[in-house]
């Protein structure tokens, strides 16, 4: 399997209220060709920052990349000229976000917005008829029921699910090699979510895409991803195949998360009034501007020992292809 995307030792800082806040701390991930990689984590873990940083979408006012590199098929992206970066961004690596309604321009028809994307990444200027044909093909690709009507609609006339399909169409219009999807279904109803995830999986296989799927939902990663990276407080704390993460979580945070899910019932007890309690992780996610010393999870960890406090553990390969950032793992 070829490595199509490699993030190496990426550190990103934000400026917030006069303070410097570390959003990503020495993060490294690898995306293989034709693979769906899940990035899972809670608020403040850095998963969205990671998505934005790959395409250098963090504005200079907000923050900056302190160190590290992003390699796309061996080519370093963060040091590219603006021109070259614009070709990659959207053209070879596409991104879709959580709320399609805020990503679409409310004053232009959907067809116009798709056309914009098509024209931007093609070398030639396409004649109107050809453009229209391609737009309709794209909308068919994303299984839009009435492509021609949709093309003429404004975003507010479409449902959330349909808007997200339009976003996917726009993202796929230039035939990218990588798709980054940041919480693509969080804002959608569960039955629509199923359709959109099904669509993404189908398109991924059909078009040979490599996908980075960012989510907080373990159910989604279980159904769509081959590999998972778990993030906490700006860092990767566990990385392995989906199967490994679910059957053998090595990091206490991953274990804690999986055990606290209301859907994980070993022996459902439905007798009225006798409900079991969830095994919750105590405390809360740390404030990025005020991280604890050593292992960032140690204040909440059920198996914490003294050695966890002074120094942050490194990510080590505990079992083959299964990495964890914990001195007590394995």
């Amino acid at each position: 399997m070829e490595r199509i995307l490699e993030v190496r030792n990426l550190s990103v800082e934000f400026y917030k209220g006069g303070k410097i806040v570390p959003a990503l701390r020495n993060v490294s991930i690898t995306l293989n060709e034709n693979e769906v990689l899940g990035i899972v984590g809670e608020s403040g873990c850095g998963k969205s920052t990671l998505a934005l940083s790959i395409l250098k979408l963090i504005s200079e006012r907000e923050g900056k990349v302190v160190s590290g590199e992003v390699l796309f098929k061996g080519e370093e992206l963060l040091s590219l000229s603006k021109e070259k970066l614009l070709q990659v961004r959207g053209g070879r690596i596409s991104i879709i976000f959580q709320d399609p309604f805020t990503s679409l321009n409310p004053v232009f028809r959907v067809g116009t917005q798709i056309a914009e994307s098509l024209s931007l990444h093609r070398k030639e200027n396409l004649p109107a008829q050809q453009l229209e044909k391609e737009i309709i093909e794209l909308l068919q690709l994303v299984k839009m029921p009435k492509p021609k009507d949709t093309m003429l609609s404004y975003p507010h006339q479409l449902s959330g699910g349909m808007q997200q399909r339009v976003m996917i169409a726009i993202a796929l219009s230039p035939n990218p090699e990588i798709l980054i999807a940041d919480e693509p279904t969080t804002a959608l109803d569960v039955t629509i979510q199923k359709e959109i995830l099904g669509l993404l999986t189908e398109l991924q296989k059909k078009l040979g895409l490599s996908v980075v799927l960012i989510t907080h939902d373990f159910g989604i990663v279980a159904e769509t991803c081959q590999r998972i990276s778990v993030m906490y407080a700006g860092n990767i704390v566990e990385e392995a195949s989906t199967s490994e993460v679910f059957h053998n979580p090595l990091h206490p945070y991953t274990r804690g998360l999986l055990e606290s899910l209301p859907s994980r019932e070993e022996s459902p007890d439905f007798s009225q009034g006798e409900k079991r309690r969830l095994k919750a992780i105590s405390g809360q996610v740390p404030d990025p501007s005020n991280l604890p010393s050593g292992c960032k999870f140690h204040p909440r960890c059920p198996i914490v020992i003294e050695q966890c406090k002074p120094e942050e553990p490194r990510l080590r390969e505990v079992i083959r292809n299964h990495w964890a950032r914990c001195i007590r793992a394995g």
Partner: protein, 276 residues
């Protein structure tokens, strides 16, 4: 007719509840149609029961919650609280008995009030409903007791909401809801804005409070896993109507209505088969 044939432990009963919103067109604002947000629903909630209303956006569950709280007046149908028609109850009386926990812990607490005031106000209002006065010292004590009950430290009375995390604010919101010693709590998406590691804590808290205080809940939620974990009974709503209702066990394990089946099938399963 009220209360006739009603089991003793039914705390809330909705009968053929309807809420239609008129759609107006033109300069003269003629009513051309109605949005049937809630279209003739009936259900019962018993004491100590956690009753869930589930459905996707637009199904009418939030409107139903508003009708129960009388934030909206029903177009038709009735709601009975302990056998009494709520449209005949004084608002204070209703507020004392039914309280609400909101979805967004960031929006539901007044940022300009201290925690002591946010929870204390509610404590102070309770006696107003019963006609008794409460002294400031008593109010403070009661407030601390409530904070303790929801798992918060008691020395936060002089602090402000922005100093707390989402999960902590949600606990504050719950403390405020409990201050009036309600019988029924409307929990509108109580955990959906929280991180998953915090969700579990709040879900546990809601169960603990139900057990220790004998509360009933009406849970409005879209996360079917949360609903299954927390609820005793569930009603599935679709386009303003209840399409299926029953114990959580029955509905989840043996759904009858095709929409219920679709809804349940759509839940992504956080499990992996050994063979994968």
């Amino acid at each position: 007719m009220e209360g006739k044939g009603q089991a003793n432990d039914v705390i809330l009963r909705a009968e053929n509840l309807k809420k239609y919103f008129p759609v107006e067109r033109g300069v003269f604002r003629r009513v051309v149609d109605y949005i049937r947000a809630v279209d003739g629903i009936s259900f019962e909630i018993r004491k100590r029961e956690i009753f869930a209303l589930v459905g996707e956006s637009g199904c009418g569950k939030t409107t139903t919650a508003k009708l129960i709280m009388r934030l909206l007046e029903a177009t038709d149908g009735k709601i009975f609280l302990n056998g009494k028609d709520i449209s005949l109850l004084e608002r204070r009386e209703l507020a004392r008995r039914i309280q609400i926990i909101f979805q967004d812990p960031f929006a539901s607490l007044n940022p300009r009030l201290t925690i002591g005031t946010i929870v204390g106000e509610a404590v102070r209002h309770k006696p107003e409903a019963t006609g008794k006065r409460v002294r400031s010292k008593e109010m403070k004590e009661k407030t601390k007791e409530l904070l303790n009950r929801v798992g918060l430290p008691v020395n936060i009375l002089n602090e402000y909401p922005h100093q707390f995390s989402g999960g902590q604010r949600q606990r504050i919101g719950i403390a405020r809801a409990l201050a009036m010693e309600p019988e029924l709590i409307v929990a509108d998406e109580p955990v959906s804005s929280l991180d998953i590691s915090v969700q579990a804590q709040i879900l546990n808290l809601l169960l603990d409070l139900r057990d220790s205080l004998g509360l009933s809940y009406i849970l409005i939620a879209h996360d079917l896993n949360v609903v299954r974990f927390l609820s005793d009974k569930v009603a599935v709503m679709y386009q303003g109507k209840i399409v299926e209702t029953g114990s959580v066990k029955m509905v989840y394990h043996n759904p009858h209505h095709s929409y219920t089946k679709r809804l349940l099938e759509a839940i992504p399963k956080a499990e992996i088969g050994i063979s994968e």
